[in-house]
Amino acid sequence: MFLSSILLALRSIRRNLLRSFLTILGIVIGVSAVITMVTLGNGATLAVQNQISGLGTNLLQIRPGQRMGPGSGGAPTFKDTYVDAIAQQIGGIYAVAAEGRATATVVAGGRNWSSSVIGSTNEWLKTGNWQLATGREFTAEEIRAGAAVCIIGATVKRELFGNADPMGELMRVKEFSCEIIGVLASKGQGAFGNDQDDMVLVPLNTLQRRITGSKRIGTLLVSMADGSEPERVKASLRQLLRELRKLSPADEDNFNILDTKQLADTLSGTTQVMTMLLGAVAGVSLLVGGIGIMNIMLVSVTERTREIGLRLAIGALEREVLLQFLIEAVVLAALGGLIGIALATLASVVLAGVMGVPYVFNVSVNLLSFVFSAGIGVVFGYFPARRAARLDPIEALRHE
């Protein structure tokens, strides 16, 4: 009975190719639209989160001036004494580093490359979650004395040395040469599309004496310890900085504290809203596809009712007829769903590549949209048939 029902169902699909095709198409469009949209949206969210977490976890960036962003607006820069003050007086801190930056051409092995040179301490590596691929950190003596040593980023290593080992090589930075003592592991693209690996790290004193020639410190980086309360840390930081910079209660802050976690939450919140929006739009297409399926199924009810009447008259049992129609509906719905998923996967992978966001297979979205549209296919393929199969054969045969 089961085998003959399968045969009958497949014959029915073949005999109504256009109807079957339209049913499948409805499911395919619905399923693939929802999956593609949600997958890309999730990919975009993930990309933003990845980029921001690349800045460092629980990282506070403190810059002179009232506004966020570059340019101190005339506000006094920081002094390196701030670092010790912060480290000693504020709890819940994992690492704190002063950072000075300059852009310089670096030369080694006959090749040159323009990169940013960062002056700081070993703490800087901690605040940025940097790992050494090879080599070592600075020694305390090197930091104090402003020694001619440097740690280079992966991009600089690639551009100047290719596959060769740069350890111990001399690299010229502006007017002086430094010895390469370490290479950092690659972190890739940053939150704003910048190449984080395109940098050279030297002790802060080295940068100030040999490159910039000033004691300016542009940025303080404060990395909070896990489990510390960001608001509390920020409040005490603000208090301390106001004291160090001798601001009276009437004065406004002449520095700003940027919380990357907050930035990450805001940005990924935005992309999540976008994902929901895209998902909603795609959901409408799923619904429209579903209505298309209902339409096709209901239009064919008259023809099917007569067919069912005939089958019953020549001796088919009600359950045999139902099984046939159920199999037919399930086959079409499953086929449509699988094609939809395949199409969505293809589209998602290609579009994710084009948009530069990661592709992550989302099980729940695939499952949900498959179940939804397949459910519509089965329900609207099966229930009109069930109604017809319960009629008397003669009544069904005479159905107008």
Partner: protein
């Protein structure tokens, strides 16, 4: 010629059929007694609303009588469930409808083998039986044509092939010539006669055309839900013609 069975194949005893309920109730059959012997060819006639189609549906186990007894091969049919009646139809009955009711976009062969699929017969046997049935109705070579590619008469012959493919005991035909012109109608009636005379299939046919009824061995007439008349046909068309030809041949021989 007429097989004398110990008991009639079909016995209807005081059959009534009421459609609807209460004041809207309509009594289509008002107490019908009818015996049909194996091998008979019965034309059921009567004006519209006389109950002939209802009687036909009851005879074919498509419908249950409201009251009364229906014995098929001596077994009570009126109390069977839906599924039991379906199995009975599958086993013993073949149906031909006025509107043919072939599956669209489906070849003649697949249409004809449909009842065998529900019987669960293997493919080779299904195909062989379907080809044989199509050959019996004169449609050899048309197996792969769909209904749209066949004339009305051919479609009705496919429908007859579908009805006889299971080698039924009873063939029920509800106005089988209702949609056909007179030449095609006569062809169909000749075919039904042959199935009856040569294969011994009991044929029950509803018709309102007296010409077609003349092909049967027995003519029963319904009026107003009751059996009005029931008499054998003294000269079924084909039999009369064959006898006339035989007589002519005999006369020429002398």
């Amino acid at each position: 010629m007429t097989a004398v069975a110990e008991q009639p194949l079909i016995q209807l005893r005081n059959i009534t059929k009421v459609y609807g309920e209460g004041r809207l109730a309509f009594q289509a059959l008002k107490g019908v007694d009818l015996d049909i012997a194996q091998g008979d060819f019965v034309a059921i006639m009567g004006p519209s609303g006389s109950g002939k189609s209802t009687a036909m549906n009851t005879l074919g186990c498509l419908d249950r009588p409201t009251t009364g007894e229906y014995l098929f091969k001596g077994a009570h049919v009126e109390s069977l469930t839906r599924d039991e009646r379906a199995l009975l139809r599958r086993q013993f009955f073949g149906f031909v409808f006025q509107g043919f009711h072939l599956l669209a976009r489906t070849t003649a062969l697949e249409n004809v083998e449909l009842p065998l699929l529900y019987r669960g017969e293997p493919k080779a046997q299904r195909h062989a039986a379907a080809r044989k049935a199509l050959a019996a109705v004169g449609l050899s070579g048309w197996e792969d044509h769909t209904p749209a590619e066949l004339s009305g008469g051919q479609q009705q012959r496919v429908a007859i092939a579908r009805a006889i493919v299971t080698e039924p005991v009873v063939l029920l035909a509800d106005e089988p010539t209702g949609n056909l012109d007179s030449q095609r109608s006569n062809e169909i009636m000749e075919l039904l006669w042959r199935l009856n005379a040569e294969l011994g299939i009991t044929v029950l046919m509803v018709t309102h055309e007296p010409d077609m009824a003349q092909y049967a061995r027995r003519i029963v007439r319904f009026v107003d839900g009751l059996l009005d008349s029931d008499h054998p046909n003294p000269a079924p068309v084909v039999l009369a013609r064959e006898q006339a030809q035989a007589a002519t041949a005999a006369a020429e021989a002398h």
